[in-house]
Symmetry: C2
Subunit: 145 residues, 2 copies
DNA sequence: TAATATTAGTTCGTTACACTGACCATATGC
DNA sequence: GCATATGGTCAGTGTAACGAACTAATATTA
């Protein structure tokens, strides 16, 4: 049952998905059980000063229709709110609301825990280097981040 | 519109998803338009000597019911076939079929192209090091790979 | 400044996906 | 031999994904 050598995509995917799974479980266990994984994936891409639907859609790789639906759900449950974009009356800015900020704190704490594990597994220097290289690679993609 | 500093999860996600998107588009453009992204994600985890539904479900992070549905679709379109598992009469092995192998070749070619770009962007030594470190990190997760 | 084209976002309708629960068949342990 | 665990499917439901069509506001250009 040897799956064969893993390509780069899978090598990126495996730790990514492991982290996501653990963080999402931590958030759920902390009482935020009315958020789904696709909603959480969108939520974490919202910037502190608010993000437009279209930007979120691009970051998450979904259509703006889908992003709109996800934001509606998040809004219904108090994770985010919409505010008018002062620069463009067509647009609105999605911004984290109280419940969203509280959930984000739980997520951040779990990420810290996982990073500590990974540092231990690879050694601090090697881990820090990995993060820097990933950052460089992410910059190289021409996506809106 | 500064999204703030990106956590490790996102740093892994961004290049992963970029690669996936490009590979999937290449496969579609090559005429394999009857495969969906979730199906392709499962397909690429099938080992050369066949994989069980349960193993695929674990690798892809879906339930075995979902994996079963995805395999059915892939089977209908000639990407995979099921064969009985000689070691366990309850199980069956999912294995790539002709159309699946042809599509996989297209995917592999596109991955090579992307890796060449990434090597160029980071420098060969740094890129090879990154891949090794990712491999180490993937090994550290206790998931079935 | 009036006509035209773009862009931001929503609504509608449809399909695929993902989950839980329940179930059958085979294996395994005592 | 009987209880229990495991591999897989079936049924039912809700969410998420898409394309197409639409409204409203902004840019563009004549």
């Amino acid at each position: 049952m040897d799956p064969g050598p893993l390509n780069v995509g899978l090598l990126l995917f495996i730790p990514y998905r492991e982290l996501e799974e653990r963080v999402f479980a931590a958030v759920q266990d902390a009482g935020y059980s009315d958020i789904t994984l696709p909603q959480a994936r969108l939520f974490q891409r919202i910037s502190a000063n608010g993000s437009r639907i279209t930007d979120l859609a691009n970051r998450v790789y979904v259509t703006k229709q889908t992003a709109s639906v996800l934001v509606n759900s998040l809004e219904s449950n108090g994770y985010v709110r919409r505010m008018p974009d002062p620069l463009d009356a067509r647009a609105s800015l999605v911004i984290a609301d109280a419940r969203g900020l509280a959930a984000a704190a739980v997520a951040a704490a779990e990420i810290q825990r996982i990073e500590a594990e990974w540092r231990k597994a690879l050694g601090t220097a090697r881990y820090e280097r990995l993060v820097r290289d990933l950052d460089e690679l992410a910059k190289h993609t021409n996506r809106p981040q």
